[in-house]
């Protein structure tokens, strides 16, 4: 268990590279945290990274407010022809993408290396 990000946005770390911005989230992506997470991701998307890579390894729970947040940010990234890619999904988080049929819509990779080159 790692420390909670201080601003409540769940964004634990942001690493900007030439090909990708990798965002590590930590905590539950739920109704409480989704609004601040949304704001943080919108800011990062505004920097127009080629790939916006979301690391979900430390996300034990996600609900439809989280899915909704990712769909909305995905629209922004797609609008400038960027890519949005996820990795590190637990079975639980993956199942939420599956139930909402978004697993085929989003790009989901096994690990960070695949994600930054996907």
């Amino acid at each position: 268990m790692s420390e909670k990000p201080k601003d409540g946005s769940l964004v634990k770390e942001v690493r900007r590279g030439e090909n990708a911005t990798v965002v590590t989230l930590s905590g539950d992506v739920d109704l409480h945290h989704s609004p601040t997470l949304h704001a943080a991701l919108v800011e990062l998307a505004a920097e127009r990274p080629k790939r916006l890579v979301i690391d979900l390894q430390e996300v034990p729970f996600m609900d439809s407010s989280g899915v909704g947040t990712f769909v909305e940010v995905f629209r922004r990234v797609s609008a400038y022809k960027g890519k949005m890619i996820f990795f590190g999904l637990s079975n639980r988080v993956r199942s939420v993408f599956e139930i909402t049929k978004l697993d085929k819509f989003f790009t989901i990779c096994e690990n960070e290396q695949q994600a930054v080159t996907a």
């Binding site: 539950d28 739920d30 109704l31 409480h32 729970f61 609900d63 439809s64 407010s65 899915v67 909704g68 947040t69 769909v71 909305e72 079975n91 639980r92 199942s95 939420v96 139930i99 909402t100 049929k101 978004l102 819509f105």
Partner: protein, 151 residues
């Protein structure tokens, strides 16, 4: 756990209360013999139901009462189950109007009811005379996982 020992949770319509409810639901499911994915599905449905009460029943106003009652039940073929009743004092809507939307239009929102109906075995909304909404839902251990425990 027998049907006669329900656990009642009283929270307010604040998103920060959801985590404690999720924990209670998860441990109860585990205790009743649910595998990991079944208990997660139940937890997710309860979370979505509470999020809907907060957002729709109470239009996002915090501090209003929500009651969640958890009880152990059995299916007709003796599988373990958990019954969850969610009671609010918010806006009443015609239960027939509460339905998940089609998923082919990918947009944020409109997924909660779809998730609830996908993962629960029984889902019943009603409008009690005293006001507010009542949601009663049940999930049983899925037959597959009852035969073959999940990893």
């Amino acid at each position: 756990m027998s049907q006669s020992n329900p656990v009642e949770l009283k929270i307010t319509s604040s998103p920060s209360c959801l985590a404690a409810v999720r924990g209670a639901v998860e441990e109860m499911a585990r205790y009743e013999g649910f595998g990991e994915m079944d208990s997660h599905a139940l937890v997710l449905a309860v979370d979505e139901a509470l999020a809907n009460v907060i957002e729709h029943g109470y239009s996002g106003v915090e501090g209003l009462p929500i009651e969640v009652t958890l009880s152990a039940v059995r299916s007709s073929d003796h599988r373990a189950g958990v019954c969850v009743v969610v009671r609010d004092q918010g806006k009443q809507v015609d239960p027939g109007q509460i339905c998940g939307r089609d998923l082919d239009d990918i947009r944020p929102g409109g997924l909660g009811v779809h998730i609830i109906r996908s993962v629960m075995d029984e889902v019943e909304y009603s409008c009690p005379n005293e006001g507010g909404m009542l949601l009663r839902m049940v999930k049983y251990v899925s037959s597959a996982s009852a035969e073959k425990p999940e990893a």
